[in-house]
């Protein structure tokens, strides 16, 4: 007899307490998103391992997940963010490299897209340098906002901080990036 299908993430996590194998559905739903976020911060190589470790950690701690406090996604991104934090040197190195590497030429395409790409490429060293000047906490908020579809409330859950603090960290971080970009555009 097979168990009835479960649609809700939180129910899946709850069901996995008694039936651990159900947790693989949580993995199937969220691996790609978690891995993308981790890869953005640590690069593709360490990302596979850290993303896998995120789910192993979540699985071991599934009894601690409290649906009242927030969505499963937010909980997972919180775990991923903590694991990324254990690889600060790898993250630092990534931004340092990006700040130095001259970007390649944009591909051909519709004009605005090429213009966007050129903008992004010219800005890359400054953006990467600006990322390095952010505090880890600001970076956590900024990159969760950039690479996930989490709302500010979700980010607050993921990071275990008040929503207001998410807002102020995001504002500070974005301000810093805008400042770096305006220097670029000043040409």
């Amino acid at each position: 007899m097979s168990a009835p299908p479960i649609v809700d993430d939180a129910e899946l996590v709850a069901a996995s307490r008694d039936d651990p194998e159900r947790f693989t559905s949580v993995y199937d739903r969220h691996f790609a998103a978690i891995r993308r976020y981790v890869a953005a911060r640590l690069g593709p190589e360490p990302a596979d391992d850290v993303a896998a470790e995120t789910f192993l950690t979540a699985f071991r701690r599934r009894a601690d997940y409290d649906p009242v406090r927030g969505e499963v996604r937010a909980w997972l991104f919180g775990i991923a963010t903590r694991l990324v934090g254990e690889h600060r040197r790898v993250e630092e190195r990534r931004y340092r490299t990006l700040a130095r590497v001259a970007p390649g030429r944009p591909e051909e395409g519709p004009e605005e897209r090429v213009a966007d790409a050129v903008d992004a490429q010219l800005a890359q060293p400054r953006l990467a340098a600006a990322l390095r000047t952010l505090s880890r906490k600001e970076r956590d908020a900024l990159l969760l906002a950039a690479f996930t579809d989490l709302t500010r409330d979700d980010i607050a859950v993921a990071l275990g901080i008040p929503v207001g603090t998410v807002g102020s960290r995001l504002n500070r971080a974005r301000g810093r990036l805008r400042a770096a970009l305006s220097t670029t555009k000043g040409k």
């Binding site: 996995s16 651990p20 194998e21 947790f23 693989t24 993995y27 199937d28 691996f31 790609a32 891995r35 993308r36 890869a39 953005a40 911060r41 690069g43 593709p44 190589e45 990302a47 596979d48 391992d49 993303a51 896998a52 470790e53 789910f55 192993l56 950690t57 699985f59 071991r60 701690r61 009894a63 601690d64 694991l83 254990e86 990006l98 966007d116 790409a117 903008d119 992004a120 800005a123 890359q124 953006l127 990467a128 990322l131 900024l142 990159l143 906002a145 950039a146 690479f147 974005r174 990036l177 805008r178 970009l181």
Partner: protein, 350 residues
């Protein structure tokens, strides 16, 4: 494009080619294992760097069944209670293994491991951690090895030589073809290698079969002790639940078997450690096997120093000098499309 969009344009990476399958396998391994206790401490794997008496030396000692097992003349002779609780827990592992369902068959038998130890390269020694995968479709078919260095730290000069190999220097995944059938062999490379698929599903039958293979190849090792020091090769191998259970029952009878107790394996997973004491190179060490007895699964093996010797002057009793942790094993149809391992070039300079 706003600043968030530009950040995404700069940092976004391609989706993972094989990471998803790898991670899923690791998770499945965890979800079908025994229930984990509530954790207080960090669950991150600790990539502590352990030394080894040269990985090659350790591997050779273990795979060739040449680990010198003491028989009652050890600094601390196993006491009777220890031995009987060790056997009891090993039998519990047998019981759990027996109940595991048969896995759906695939083309390749796959095993993923993480190894740590010390290696020698061009007169320098390094502490290292490496991830390894093996995929074997069986004798006469095809087989692949994948590897990626996780870390490698210079430790110091050594009088040993040892050439630089691409395998220990690639920090991204690479792939190379392997001799097909080795994962099905009991003594790979031997003239009479045996076949894990022929191990009978009873402890007596398994003992007789292993004894025959070992004797034919000139290893007069006691089969239980041999199986203990080569456990992953027979327990994380393409064998069914009956055979796995039989091997655990055989391990329970290994002369000198001792119980170490509850431990965390090198990846932070809870398991029960068993040990057999060995001697060599002026050292005394425990060869430990860490088993999830509730799932009947081998998690890791490691060598723990009991008495230091010249090769391990920097280590003290109780230090782990090398390990191999099993991340997952099972059948698969796919081998990851990693780039080939570069050919070994001669060392650039002396």
């Amino acid at each position: 494009m706003d600043e968030l969009g530009m950040i995404v344009a700069m940092l976004d990476e391609e989706p993972s080619a094989h990471g998803e399958q790898d991670g899923r396998r690791r998770l499945t391994f965890a979800t079908t294992g025994s229930p984990a206790p509530r954790l207080r401490a960090s669950t991150r794997p600790r990539f502590a760097l352990f030394g080894g008496f040269g990985l090659a030396g350790a591997a050779a000692a273990v795979t060739a069944g040449a680990v010198l097992l003491s028989s009652g003349t050890t600094p601390r002779a196993p006491d009777h209670d220890d031995a009987s609780s060790a056997s009891r827990l090993m039998l519990a592992a047998a019981h759990s293994a027996e109940r595991e369902s048969v896995q759906p068959h695939g083309r390749y038998w796959e095993i993923q491991t993480q190894v740590g130890g010390r290696m020698v390269e061009d007169g320098k020694s390094y502490n290292f951690v490496q991830r390894k995968g093996k995929y074997d479709a069986g004798p006469g078919k095809d087989a692949w090895g994948t590897q990626k260095m996780v870390s490698k730290k210079y430790f110091g000069p050594t009088s040993d030589q040892g050439s630089r190999t691409a395998m220990m220097n690639s920090f991204t995944w690479t792939k190379e073809s392997w001799t097909p059938g080795e994962m099905y062999e009991i003594l790979p490379g031997s003239r009479y290698p045996g076949d894990v698929r022929k191990i009978p599903g009873t402890p007596a039958g398994a003992k007789t079969y292993l004894d025959g293979v070992l004797k034919k190849s000139g290893f007069p090792t006691e089969p239980g002790q041999w199986a203990f020091t080569n456990a992953p090769a027979v327990l994380a191998a393409p064998v069914g639940p009956q055979v796995r259970a039989a091997v655990y029952r055989l391990l329970a009878t290994a002369p000198g078997l001792r119980l170490v107790g509850k431990v965390k394996d090198p990846l932070g997973r809870s398991g029960t450690a068993f040990s057999l004491r060995g001697k060599g190179g002026g050292m005394v060490y425990d060869y430990q096997l860490i088993i999830d007895t509730k799932a009947g699964r081998v998690l890791a093996d490691r060598t723990v120093l009991v008495k230091t010797g010249p090769a391990w002057a920097d280590k003290k009793a109780g230090d782990v000098i090398n390990y191999s942790a099993v991340l997952s094993y099972g059948w698969t149809d796919k081998v990851p499309a990693y780039p080939p391992l570069p050919n070994d070039a001669p060392s650039p300079k002396k």
